[in-house]
Subunit: 316 residues, 2 copies
């Protein structure tokens, strides 16, 4: 049995796997180019997903199981996977902590006007005039109440924020003061001082944020997207930001990535851009590899208790 | 009875006080220059403290009570206050929330390398290479376990940080996993990934942070001062930062304020400077005025249940 990886899972992790599963041939690389020669033979493919085109899958004649080491799987060639009936698993659930740290960072950054003082320092300016508004008592509206949304809400509660969640059914979830069903999205948005999009991209979530949604928000609302770029109608967002329909935005994800140079978001005063890094952390592989290893054990033993087995029709 | 204020406590607050205490003459100004004409007559003086020199107190022949509307009172002319036996109260306790928000902001800023992405955005650079270290599981050592230190620890616990406090006695305090007495300061510092100075300036706290203390810290430690500048030996701090004895610092307070133009801290790569703003917030007067009003009622009624009555010998 041959396992091919286009993901650097860390030397120690590789060593441990080889030792524990000495009957398996591991071909562990750092990208798909290096991995190229072994596509044909591999039974298992470990990948971040963005390198996994339909063409690659066609070349992998022996592929039976694809372990995606990220959470977002919208870029995968689902039709091809379905035809070949390939098992698909991902690592949903491991991003709660780093992403919640990122989200609280950008909210608090905004609260203390961090970039203004950064610029003042460059010019040795001591200007104490501020228009601070504490986040204490403010409302945060979070789209998605899964592991990421819940972890953000948990941290927001320590700042005495009011937490509103939005999910499919409206069923209550820990750390949320209130949860509304997606049908009442605009009502939930209207209450938010900070609005966080944690949504994965599915047929249901594509362009959930359009003109109407930005119109529903307070003009003082601050929008944060760490979900998927395509859950937002980017034109409507740009329009809302240019016309001060909302106060500003922090964006980690975009319709097209890398964000094209001519996209107006790059140069807007009220926009902070990060290059899809909110989920990255030193703890990433510490949390992702155990999921892979659990699934490997299941695969070898022919059981069916996979962690994060994806329904190829539903795409989640 | 005449009350003079050199502090803008907000029009609504002034109106409410005048209505409730119609037998008092209120002279409410926005600074000491405006207030000048009424120094002689005032029995009560409401001030932020920095305008209150020995000379001013001498001119206030009728002064009996000084309500300081800030927490730091180290700049007050204590000898003169003692000679005249003037009652002194301050607003200790109201800064916990804004300062804890500020401290978590700069810790998280550091964690997500926020200024680097800010610069990348200016140049439309999409560079995803990061060396993120989550704050999850890191240790925060907080000097001072009063209202500010405790609020920081409370928020840090929501990020699953380990919280170590340092106070006079080492007695345990809510939200701290461990509290050490000041005698074991260096031991507490050696454990910290983030070290926060919340100390007021007293004879005991002057230059608590010297060469030895910075030497005790991890080379990866990040230092934050929101207490008082003079609790730190600024030369020793600059030396520690220049020689990478510690990773970096965020400083909101300094030995001399405004920070002089020729101070090397302004231009150091691993230093973030803010102009003594960590305690400022839109909620400030909402929390400070009720303390003043409680004390005013006590003063009028001749009772002695003042909030934050200061011992002029101990200076706290």
């Amino acid at each position: 049995m041959k396992i091919l990886s286009s993901v650097d899972i860390g030397e120690k992790n590789v060593e441990a796997l080889k030792k524990r599963y000495s009957f398996i041939e591991f071909y562990m690389y750092k990208d798909i180019v290096e991995a190229g020669d072994h596509l044909r033979d591999a039974e298992v493919f470990v990948t971040f997903g963005f390198d996994t085109t339909a063409d690659i899958i066609q070349k992998m004649k022996n592929l039976k199981w694809l372990q995606c080491m990220s959470t977002g799987i919208d870029m995968l060639p689902f039709e091809t996977l379905k035809e070949r009936n390939i098992l698909l698993t991902n690592v949903t659930g491991i991003h709660g902590i780093p992403i919640a740290e990122y989200v609280m960072a950008v909210i608090l950054n905004n609260r203390i006007d961090a970039f203004r003082f950064y610029e003042q320092q460059k010019n040795k300016i001591w200007n104490r005039t501020v228009k601070f508004e504490e986040i204490y008592g403010k409302t945060i509206t979070i789209l998605g109440t899964g592991s990421i949304g819940k972890e953000i809400a948990r941290k927001a509660k320590a700042f005495d924020m009011k937490t509103i969640g939005v999910n499919t059914s409206g069923k209550s979830v820990d750390y949320f003061d209130e949860v509304l069903p997606i049908g009442e999205l605009n009502k939930a948005l209207a209450k938010g001082d900070y609005i966080v999009d944690t949504l994965p991209l599915t047929d249901q979530t594509r362009k959930v944020f359009g003109k109407e949604q930005f119109e529903s928000m307070k003009s003082s609302a601050y929008f944060i997207n760490i979900g998927r770029g395509a859950t937002v109608d980017e034109k409507a967002l740009i329009d809302a930001l240019q016309n001060n329909m909302i106060r500003g935005a922090t964006l980690d994800v975009f319709e097209k990535e890398p964000l094209p140079e001519d996209n107006p978001l790059w140069t807007m005063d009220n926009v902070y851009i990060t290059p899809h890094i909110s989920g990255l952390s030193n703890m990433y592989m510490n949390r992702a590899v155990p999921i892979f290893e659990h699934n490997l054990k299941t695969y070898i033993e022919g059981k069916d208790d996979y962690i994060n087995k994806i329904d190829l029709n539903k795409k989640y």
